[in-house]
Amino acid sequence: MAEEKSEGGLVFHPLDQFIVKPLFGDGAVGMFTITNVTLWMAISVVAIIALFVFGTKKRDIVPGKAQSIAELIYSFIYKMVEDICGKEGAKYFPYIMTLFLFILFANYLALIPMSYSPTSMIAVTAVLGFGVFIVVTALGFILNGPAFLGMFWMKDAPAILRPIIAVIEVISYFVRPVSHSIRLAGNVMAGHAVIKVFAGFAALTLVSPVAILGITAIYGLEVLVAGIQAYVFTILTCVYLKDALHPHH
């Protein structure tokens, strides 16, 4: 937020918003330091608890506002898991719900001015993406044994093409976690950085109306991106999980 003007010129530091700072004191950032990342992740968790635990406290048959929202999200994700992974997938619903809610709340809370966006950090999304990858791969081998490898061997393709397709399939399989995590971090980071760039331009009197209009427009776009990226991350998780549950398409 400090990139307004220094020495009279335009100064852009659109990435400063992603700096990890200790919340107390000025020391180095160690593994267990309580930082702004910690704070905003904690706020996400508290918001999730507020909506899903305190919002549903009354267990109304005719739900109130908070309970309606919680039920709506619940049904939405449950249906998604069931549609994509089938009945056996319902067992993994709490994990997928955890991922979805954490990303959704982190994304939306990051849209509050002065906030911090944990999901814009590749380290964070990589843990999520590779976590999904490792769990899904392990699950695939546990449930199907070596038959899981049959996923890469297209039985309905012409015999000559099968090895080539297998190589491509294996590569695409290993690229999955990378694209899965960079997609989320890239989208969130890009949006926030662009807003900062527009905010930098707002310091110029001449273009400030345009810049502020730009901020508004990008902010609107970011509101969509925040929801859509959480959804995309979740639906891809479901698709990967489906591959582990039913590798033979």
Binding site: H13, L15, F52, V53, T56, L101, V127
Partner: protein, 182 residues
């Protein structure tokens, strides 16, 4: 990235002016911190969701769908009852109509028989009166004829006497009688 900057307290990724050197996303110093807190946050979220929130919402949804199913069943039952009641009402209406028609027909028949009896009685009375009157008229006529005969005989006798004849009374009477008959 250019890392010639001095080692500030904040680490190798922040320059002396307080702005980031390169992408903060790629700063290796900060990764363990993010990963650690992310895992904590995810585990906390998972436990809260799987232990409290999700079972609760599932039970609420199940309860609601149960209630809705029950209500629909009750509504269906009530609808059937209403249909039954309607059918019973229709039946009652039909019965009442039939009863009414029966009563009307009975009453009509009764009236008809009474009327017939009265008419027959009246006819008989009329016939009796007619017969009586006819008898009276016949008597009167007979009387008149007798009187006329008597007068005619007397008159004929007197005329005969007046004309100087001394007619036999019996012959005159017979002649008059013969004339009267003709």
């Amino acid at each position: 990235m250019a890392t010639e900057t001095t080692e500030v307290a904040a680490g190798a990724c922040v320059g002396p002016s307080g702005s980031a050197i390169g992408m903060p996303q790629l700063c290796a110093d900060w990764i363990p911190n993010q990963v650690f807190w992310l895992v904590i946050a995810l585990v906390a979220t998972y436990f809260v969701l799987s232990r409290i929130a999700l079972p609760r919402i599932a039970s609420v949804l199940a309860e609601r769908s149960g209630t809705i199913t029950n209500d629909l069943a009750a509504a269906e039952e009530l609808k059937l009852k209403a249909q039954e009641a309607e059918a019973a009402y229709e039946q009652a209406l039909k019965d009442a109509r039939a009863e009414a028609a029966k009563i009307v027909a009975e009453t009509k028949a009764e009236i008809q028989t009474e009327l017939d009896a009265e008419l027959a009685k009246a006819d008989a009375q009329i016939a009796e009166k007619t017969a009586e009157s006819e008898a009276a008229i016949a008597e009167i006529r007979d009387g008149a004829v007798k009187s006329v005969t008597a007068v005619a005989k007397d008159t004929a006798k007197e005329i005969v006497a007046a004309l100087g004849g001394s007619a036999d009374a019996k012959a005159v009477t017979a002649a008059v009688s013969a004339r009267m008959k003709g």
